[in-house]
């Protein structure tokens, strides 16, 4: 459904996407991770046709995306996007007017669950609530592809939890491709089915969330024993303390021995291990 073929996007000297290729066909929730400036937003903008790419080809449902031919089945919610300063209920009505697939009942139900006041004007809402309204309109849009850039920024932990529950429900009800970028990994780790990690405009990892559970672990113990036990395995990072070493592995599982300890790695540690600067991992 989504295809990036050798896409490069540079903003002058600054290369945001570097010969980037990915092909996404299955519906589901995709977690897009990357450090600040890794190219997450550029990826979404290029996919939505908001910016032209410098080189390569972006297509959605086998139709090339350009800024003149923006894909109709994609709904992109920019981080900090603005809306008309009108009451929420009117905002929903306009959304329904320009988009016949807009699910008004769903929008109203979500507004109720998030305790949004339908009669409040957009600008009177808090930052987190504004983001929620934008996401809510996206979820109700009935589009096949949703791009949510930092949708939980400014949310309290309870809102984040409810948000991801809702996202799961919405996807279970109407399967679609949802790509979510975030730096708050806790909840999305338990929600997303697929993982996309990018760094410096390049695709570092594209896989199943299950892979983290199965293959990401740490081996801790005396330095020499840990090195011996993990020889030949793909190490993505390490931490040292005294004569002890903890190596982060992303590979087949090994058995613990008398000298080394095996522990599962969470997505946060995995991500830091994978894209953290080598110099920072001491």
């Amino acid at each position: 459904m989504i295809d990036f073929k050798n896409v490069t996007k540079d903003y002058g000297k600054n290369i945001a996407l570097d010969d980037f290729s990915i092909s996404i066909a299955e519906t589901g929730i995709y977690c897009l991770l990357g450090r600040n400036g890794a190219g997450k937003t550029t990826l979404m903008k290029a996919l939505a046709g908001h910016i032209p790419v410098t080189d390569g080809e972006v297509s959605v449902a086998e139709r090339a995306v350009t800024s003149l031919a923006m894909p109709q089945n994609v709904h992109f919610v920019e981080s900090g996007a603005a809306q008309f300063n009108i009451r929420l209920i009117e905002l929903f009505r306009y959304a329904a007017e320009i988009n016949p697939d807009f699910d008004m009942a769903f929008a109203k139900e979500m507004a109720r669950r998030f305790r949004l006041d339908n009669s409040k004007k957009y600008r009177r809402l808090s930052f987190g609530m504004k983001t929620m309204v934008n996401t809510l309109i996206a979820l109700a849009s009935g589009k096949q592809i949703l791009l949510l850039d930092e949708p939980v920024l400014g949310f309290d932990p309870i809102m984040r939890k409810t948000f991801y529950e809702l996202l799961s429900e919405s996807c279970a009800e109407k399967p679609k491709i949802v790509i979510v970028s975030t730096h708050i990994i806790d909840e999305i780790e338990k929600t997303a089915e697929k993982l996309i990690i990018i760094d410096r405009g390049r695709l570092i990892l594209f896989g199943d969330m299950n892979e983290i559970d199965e293959k990401a672990y740490s081996v801790t113990g005396p330095t020499e024993q840990v090195m011996a036990a993990t020889e030949g395995l793909r190490a993505i990072g390490e931490t040292r303390a005294g004569g002890f070493l903890s190596r982060f592995i992303f590979d087949e599982r090994i058995q613990a021995s008398e000298n080394v300890n095996i522990a599962n790695l969470g997505l946060t540690e995995f991500f830091v291990g994978l894209v953290g600067d080598e110099g920072e991992v001491v």
């Binding site: 338990k190 929600t191 969330m209 559970d213 599982r253 080394v260 300890n261 522990a263």
Partner: protein, 118 residues
């Protein structure tokens, strides 16, 4: 030392233990994937992986339109496997550990017998 297993394997073992302890009887519907994911706060894909492993092992089977149920003969299979494991792994490790701290065969027998009588 500690050996933390992947979450999906931990879930597989939990359900197998429940079948062995007859918390789930043969034919009973087991906990659903969304329930596992909510209860243990794990990714639904992880819960799904555990269920598919159990299904591949023949421990559970699909009941069309209802869910996954404990397969016929599942408890016997788990029991046989655990007994084999006890003989092949648990006992030798137990003896090796006793030897390490200077407990010989006769003394070990005595300890086991006394502990069993309690």
């Amino acid at each position: 030392m500690r050996d933390e297993k992947p979450m999906f394997i931990q879930i597989v073992e939990m359900i197998r233990d429940d079948i062995l302890a007859e918390i789930y009887q043969e034919g009973d519907l087991i906990i659903s994937t969304p329930q596992i994911s909510k209860l243990l706060s794990v990714n639904p894909a992880t819960a799904q992986r555990a269920i598919s492993v159990l299904s591949d092992q023949g421990i559970i089977e699909k009941k069309r339109g209802i869910g996954m149920a404990v397969a016929c003969g599942a408890r016997a299979a788990i029991l046989a496997e655990q007994q084999a494991n006890f003989h092949e792994k648990v006992v030798p490790e137990f003896i090796a550990r006793a030897r390490k701290i200077g407990i010989g065969g006769d003394e070990l027998l005595k300890i086991v017998k006394e502990s069993c009588d309690d």
